[in-house]
Symmetry: C2
Subunit: 350 residues, 2 copies
């Protein structure tokens, strides 16, 4: 009795009625065409999502000479020993981008880190989301040669005129975390910093240095090689931080596994968290809710980034006007026990 | 100085040396060709992964008339109000399938639930992984018409000769969970069961009924409509279970949000978990590690399913011989506080 349900999709009219707009507006909103306010577009997308409406509009993309397929790739970490889809940030980014593409009638293909230039020149794609591009990334010039629309996740290091990107407000995020630590009483916050030619560690280091200078607090940085084994390398870097005299009262890391590495180094030094040391890292890994103790994390909101990047890429493909071509996503802090202000016995200061 | 790293991949020879095989064997293992033992293939894949080797062999697929692209789709739940990639089971399945495809030199595209038959007939694909197929699913007959190799995730309800699938041992999994509950003292285990034309609830119901019959324990089932709002519907079903006299001493659910729903119903009845009621569900959601109390879950191992399905599909595409065409993945139990045997004061029974 429910067997024909798969092909009984809600109609365009049902979406229009729910969003209180015309069917033409629904069509424009879902296809990224026409002149609509972003508020209206968002209302239509919300209505379509609520009703489970999935437009079969890829046929339209094909009709106008497109493929209906978007690509997403991360080429900077071609040297990673695991698939980037196993790292929580990229996993969430990929899944939200797939969902955002489907919602707008496109398909999205997650591409491997390493792909031959020949493939980049020949795989049929309407547009590409390029995650964490470097200035000299060969994929960028190949796609530019082909004239394929491109949205960067992260501001490209040396942006060209016309570059389009979704960026993350790393500086605001790091300040959120550092302010949280000072509120919990930290005055000597150490940073364990990966050496990598990606922009991300450099941006974080600069944001950290300027925050420390403003607050007149010491900048305590130990660097480590991010390949081939950043687990051991980061633990060593944190140990060097903890060997300093006076010792840091907090240590932060900027990679997903940094929290685990800092906890391991603290254990090795016989330090209790948070009593002797506050610990936090930038991560999307839900495991930090159940470590001993649970670790405070800064989320870079890859789900929002994926959604915005797809929206922007489709706008670009369809030459939609009135779209802001540089978008900024704000990180969010998840405070947990590892940064809870230690209760001091005896001389309590106000 | 590290700028050319992206294109400096480890060579085929390096993988061969690490796996202690010839380069021809590496090539066969990665492309799913030739006659190799599964043990050798797995050793080569492990070596390739450790070295970060990603073959650019899609060009080969193109050369032999293929596209190098696999599809993955889930059409049964076309009526879901959210993207299926937002559900932890499908999210993990999709990500592991993408990684497994890349590892073997293929691309994988996650397709939306609802796609027009026209699209299924025209999108270029070498093969498709079909998740949770129904007997009468139109996508199956369309793909069969097109002669596109297909692997089902889940044994199809009325298998054709030649059907290929990766199945999950639901019965063994459910028995694992039910035995765990009886070890914790449960004697009246209630099941909250969704009404859906998918095979999964029916398989679980049958496994539950036969386990109860064997143990001579009462089968306590309450059904609920799985659409449009299964949250409220399941909570109502659990309340009906808890209204029974005598009351169940444990309740289990088979969907990802069932644990949350059962906890909510228990709170409504003023029951403490696990003291008054044991609670568990089938889920991949990491959130259950941090609910109050943390909830015991049965994992169906979507990561393994995705990996096996891709491996099997590529074997099928390349007409690899000696491959077992029906594979079975074993669920795994994650016991947490919600099913810890309540400590009874006074009359302790051995």
């Amino acid at each position: 009795m429910r067997s024909s349900r798969v092909w009984q999709r809600p109609t365009l009219g049902a979406v229009a009625a729910r969003a209180e707009v015309s069917t033409a507006t629904v069509s424009n909103a879902l296809n990224g065409t026409g002149r609509l306010s972003e508020a209206t577009r968002q209302r239509v997308l919300a209505a379509a999502r609520e009703l489970g409406y999935a437009p079969a509009s890829i046929s339209r993309a094909l009709a106008r000479g497109g493929t209906g397929v978007l690509g997403l790739t991360m080429t900077t970490y071609g040297d990673l020993p695991v698939s980037y889809t196993e790292i929580p940030y990229y996993a969430q980014l990929s899944l939200s981008a797939i969902a955002a593409a489907h919602e707008r009638g496109y398909l999205l293909m997650v591409m491997p880190c390493s792909l031959s230039p020949w493939m980049w020149l020949n795989t049929p794609l309407d547009g590409v989301i390029h995650v964490g591009p470097r200035a000299d990334d060969p994929v960028r010039s190949l796609l530019r040669q082909r004239g394929i629309p491109m949205v960067s996740n992260g501001r490209p290091p040396q942006p060209h005129w016309g570059d389009v990107w979704v960026d993350t407000d790393y500086e605001a995020g790091l300040r959120l975390l550092l302010d949280h630590l000072t509120e919990a009483g930290a005055r000597r916050i150490g940073l364990s910093l990966p050496l990598h030619d990606d922009e991300y560690p450099h941006l974080m280091e600069r944001a950290y240095a300027s925050w420390c200078a403003e607050r007149e607090l010491p900048a305590l940085v130990e660097e480590y090689a991010s390949v081939p084994d950043y687990f051991t390398a980061e633990q060593d870097a944190v140990r060097r931080l903890l060997d300093r005299d006076p010792r840091p009262d907090a240590v932060i890391g900027i990679y997903s596994d940094s929290g685990h590495n800092i906890l391991a180094a603290a254990r090795h030094h016989g330090l209790r968290v948070p009593q002797d040391l506050l610990v936090a890292c930038v991560s999307e890994d839900p495991d930090y809710a159940t470590t001993a103790p649970p670790v405070t994390t800064l989320s870079l909101r890859p789900d929002r980034v994926g959604d915005e990047a797809v929206d922007l890429l489709i706008a670009l493909i369809n030459a939609r006007s009135g779209v802001h071509r540089h978008r900024l996503v704000q990180p969010v802090l998840a405070p947990r026990r590892s940064t809870r202000r230690p209760v001091r016995r005896g001389n309590v200061t106000p």
